[in-house]
Symmetry: C2
Subunit: 300 residues, 2 copies
């Protein structure tokens, strides 16, 4: 089954202590789709401006990612400018320029509306609700969000949460959303808001999967070299959803394996800037690292 | 086989947002010995003042912990006063009063010198070296240290590191000791300093075991309630060493299992203040949580 993602396609300026990159391909839908594409077919709904380079479009086309829902409109493409410190932790946002994204109103193409697997990337919860009104009987809907929406649109966000199956956010978003510093209590409070599954991404510390079946802990791969952490979270979500879409929701082990695949793909994403590592990545490399992940926490 | 620990026995003042505790039993050797005691016999070398309460001594005596090396001298017992914020992360040290610990010169009792398993808790590296000169052919020596010694006695610390088998420290100490922000590179640099095994404690994010055989990642137990994080690291080390001393060093799986037992015991320690939870803890509870730990990262 294919996955539908609604999110951003952006041009990023990224600064790290190890390099500066100007107008590179970014955006949640870019990382998500290239990650999910290793496991299943992907369709993108997003918006770009008339300045968006054709060679970036070709990246998606070469991978046969569905672009019927990628609208090109007059104006400049969404831009993000971020800067990482030596710890390569949370970046400082130097600037966010919404441009054509400011009036983004996602229209799901007719033949995408029956998508079984839907991912609502980190966009305005009102837009996320609009998407949910357009899709017909999805099997699984997952979503991301961020502190900005938790603070500024709590009511709309709660409405979306009540209607999705999986929430994929990070540690600090988990605490903020539940207004509770303890991760276990916060997780339970969030499960009470609607989603049956909560995945907490913890960067170099791995990821936690919470559901009524209990907790699963996936390690993170201890990397030799991190070049650019941008897109780790979105490619995590992409691999997770791609794997689930490819393997189905009937067995809970698929959710656990999806989380491990999410960690695997994220660990590759950060090895190069932009989506470069996702472009060069081979399926065999994914499988090798998947096994290495399992070994990492294997007692035998 | 029994374990010998050389460290501190202290009276702590601990403040958390959830409670204040005055002159409670603390110190690395206290937490270590009560944790290791679940797995093997323990002997303590430390110093206390004439103000040290007898009911605290009885805690060790009731558990049959060897106290031949616990010297009571004239003066006040070592005191630490720490304060935790709402995240219950690293505490702020309000005061450290060495008192009788200032002139502590560990003398290993004659019948402790052939101890096979030795733990050098976080004390002056010169004292750690003194201990190493007194013990005869130990099978396994493990040690702890802290940023203060990394900065102020690097030469002496390197001498100890060259002579021990296992180093057990936290994330920030790992980066500081290797002067390298990336944990993988830092770990390799530290293994080159001497110890064949490096265990990096990461609090709520688990622990990493590095050796020439590779990496093992133990999760941390996601706790509902943390009351007082003091002693988590020392009881981790105690459980690890106790388990190894009880099961032997010939199989590498014992080191992995030791790390999991370390995480298990640490997760109990923080459930109450001082050593209270270690006193009430039953072996069955440890086994149940050990299985829960394995389940936490089990795909099947």
């Amino acid at each position: 089954m294919s996955v539908l993602v609604v999110g951003s396609v952006a041009l990023d300026d990224v600064e790290t202590p190890f390099g500066k990159f100007h107008e590179i391909l970014g955006g949640s839908a870019s990382y998500f789709s290239l990650a999910a594409n290793f496991f299943t077919d992907v369709k993108v709904v997003a918006v770009i401006g008339d300045d968006f380079p054709n060679n970036f479009l070709e990246i998606f086309e070469t991978k046969n990612i569905g672009l019927t829902g990628l609208r090109r409109v007059s104006g400049k493409t969404f831009r993000w400018h971020g800067k990482y410190g030596y710890d390569l932790g949370d970046p400082e946002t130097i600037g966010t320029y919404l441009n054509v994204f400011e009036t983004f109103d996602p229209v799901i193409p007719e033949d995408y509306r029956e998508s079984s697997y839907v991912f609502l990337a980190n966009i305005d919860p009102e837009l996320q609700l609009n998407v949910l009104k357009q899709v017909i009987n999805p099997k699984l809907v997952a979503m991301d969000t961020m502190n900005y929406w938790i603070v500024n649109k709590p009511k709309e966000l709660k409405e979306v949460l009540a209607r999705v199956n999986v929430l994929i956010i990070n540690d600090s978003e988990t605490r903020a959303l539940a207004n509770e510093p303890k991760i276990m209590k916060a997780a339970r409070a969030i499960l009470d808001m609607g989603p049956g599954v909560l995945i907490v991404k913890r960067g170099e510390y791995g990821a936690l999967l919470f559901s009524e079946e209990g907790i699963f802990w996936a390690p993170s791969y201890p990397l030799e070299e991190v070049i650019d952490p941008t897109g780790a979270g979105d490619s995590f979500a992409g691999a997770f959803m791609g794997y689930i879409a490819g393997s189905g929701i009937s067995h809970s082990i698929n959710f656990k394996r999806g989380v491990v695949y999410g960690s695997v793909i994220a660990s590759f994403t950060v090895e190069d800037f932009s989506v470069n590592r996702l472009i060069s990545l081979k399926r065999e490399e994914i499988d090798i690292r998947f096994d290495a992940f399992l070994n990492l926490s294997n007692l035998d």
